[in-house]
Symmetry: D2
């Protein structure tokens, strides 16, 4: 999972958002570290910040006539996060033409080590027909300030 | 919080439901016991079983034209539940005329001790007017097999 | 549940902490509002900020030889919080001599209305003997900058 | 992600566990379907049942001197699960020699469709040295009733 270096589209938008979070007592398991499933909440916080940065958060998605459910997730757990350690979560938009793919990196500010890397894939579903869109709808390109090919 | 002994209405329905649950690794905190906030999920499982027993679960509530949001909760934590210990959760309907009050008891099957006792209060809200109902709507009495006074 | 106005101890510490939170998509239920059980996570964030403000968070509690489990919670749900609405959570220390009681208020910044009010009670347990303390241990008074009676 | 058909070791153990679950109100998001991150709790329930079936659940792992943290997860979301729909979660042990890899399938009993497929990878960490084990420790082979090569 590498940060994409777009060779064919040098003018493409490079959208990212980074948030700082303090995992809480309820995030931590009996081994004293954040339970692996709780990181998906942290990803959502960063994804939400990223989508809000170009005004296409959940409420705007719905208004635009599309749902964007997550169809795939992957996560690698590199080093644990213990109680009391702060993290940053960075979300980077890496694909948008046919689906929305976002890559993530969680960095442990206390240990100065990468904690996890992850990716999520979302596809557009027409709210009325409930049909899957094989290319991203025009509204996404507009929101990203791109003219669609 | 006592189990109600109805003196004035000996024929009143005594509705209750008991479920068995195995708290999981993700329910348990760094102290090795179930995190206090997670018990509200366990209550919901038992409440859902109780409401389903008289065919008035969430989907039927919505179909009947009412939402029943929770307006108050209380919980006393009597003894902890550790990883690997099974519990039962009992929900008892104790009020229905003007609001839905349910009392709960969580029992630790491994230690043979009561773990928590709790209560929740729900009131009906008309789905269309969004107004709160000061007495329970007729549909609740029907579902409970009661003729409304 | 009133904000305490200490008449007998005008020099007593008035400890409080307020945090701002953005409830996320995963906090919201099919009715479009924050699920009632999720507010306990929000309380924990504010409680943690309050305890940290006088250097007696979970890790320091454990180091001091005491656990402080929650033995009781209450919450009143006054008005809902919808997706996209920000909140503040205020935690106020209202009792400390024999137990730690904290009162909370969650305020909806979007609607300018109080969302919930709540309280939690914690008691000290000696980490080694596992016995409950009937008065708060000296360390709590030290942390609060108080001389114990 | 295919169910492994072991050609080279026809006598190898084929360990699996299937549980039935009822997703609850708190699992469901504003779109009316289970929030994608909540499936990781369902996986844990099935994984726990699988590991318990050969007496190597979390408590036995710890007793044996090893932690088995999850180092990677993947999930594909094939079709949604709505409120009121029951599911089965099947966990299948597909690798054990150097790491523990488990494949999962979640099946929607109401729609008769596959809901998600997933996998998790765990590696052994020596509890005392905190070092990662490059091959699975002997205890795992014993628990599986296998003689280690």
């Amino acid at each position: 999972m590498k940060i994409p270096i777009s060779k064919t589209a040098p003018s493409a938008p490079f959208r990212s958002a980074t948030i700082e979070l303090q995992p809480q007592f309820y995030d931590v398991d009996p081994m004293g570290v954040v339970w692996h499933g709780n990181y998906f909440r942290f990803l959502e916080c960063a994804r939400s910040a990223l989508l809000d940065s170009f005004h296409y958060g959940y409420l705007e998605m719905e208004k635009s006539g599309y749902f964007w459910p997550i169809v795939e997730t992957r996560m690698k757990y590199v080093s644990p996060v213990a109680l009391g350690q702060k993290i940053t979560v960075t979300a980077i938009l890496v694909e948008w033409e046919n689906r929305l793919r976002i890559d993530y990196e969680i960095f442990n500010l206390a240990t100065r080590r990468r904690a996890t890397k992850a990716q999520t894939t979302q596809i557009a579903i027409d709210k009325h027909s409930r049909e899957m869109c094989f290319t991203s709808p025009a509204i996404l390109f507009e929101k990203l300030g791109l003219s669609q090919k």
